[in-house]
Symmetry: C2
Subunit: 131 residues, 2 copies
Amino acid sequence: MTITPRQFEVHPSSGVPIYLQIVEQVNALIVGGHLQSGEMLPSVRQMATELGVNHMTISKAYSRLEASGVVERIRGKGMMLKESHVTGTLRHRQSELQPLLEQAVIRARQLGLDDQQILSVLKTVLREIQQ
Amino acid sequence: MTITPRQFEVHPSSGVPIYLQIVEQVNALIVGGHLQSGEMLPSVRQMATELGVNHMTISKAYSRLEASGVVERIRGKGMMLKESHVTGTLRHRQSELQPLLEQAVIRARQLGLDDQQILSVLKTVLREIQQ
DNA sequence: ATCTGTGTATCACTCCACTAATACACTATC
DNA sequence: GATAGTGTATTAGTGGAGTGATACACAGAT
């Protein structure tokens, strides 16, 4: 599958920074299996033109993706998706997940949800976002 | 139990806005059962003095808490913890939780965690943060 | 070498969140 | 009414995030 800028859309007045919207969408495409390692991302200028934003904004998104190890920059060519390599022990990776779940559980408690009701939502989400 | 400002601490240079730190700590105290409905929160000036910040910053935190229905303001007296009343249908409350869990699961997938490993972390968190 | 395609560094501008100083409004108590 | 305790409205200053214009550096094709 080839990736085109049309698969992306931004809402400049949504409050979420444009470059973060790009980052999230790339991550979502990867998690959803629509982007495979080795594929090239659209060039910053191509993406910028289609989305009607400055190419530096796209560059910022790509930098962020590179920093998080999702993408590799190849000078003069473009940005390529890296082989997803899982690093760290299982325990370490789980500990990285923990704060996010804590935040969710605190909110859930405020909403008066019990363990079973929280688990139910999680299972729905796990089905939505397959591995 | 009486609540004193000493139970709070802020880290001005942590990146998290001071007023949000207060909000989160009050929420955490409630979820943890250390704050009961009917109790008064420390006054804005008392809290501000102890924490070394402007009292308007505390006021902003309290306003946020009032907006989220956690606290009730009583003119001339102070801020009192409201009876925690759960509003909305179960389905509605669960749908409010969903985006938070989606965010967590996306991150978990990036970390290469499978359903079982995610559930394991959630169960730990649920034990930590009792209802 | 030149050209055209990559991404990047730098700088400047704007906007808004955060914070604080000050003055105000309300309530209880004396 | 005076006083002292609440929280709030208004205003201003500061800092940083986000965005974009411009100029640059690198790689490949010709």
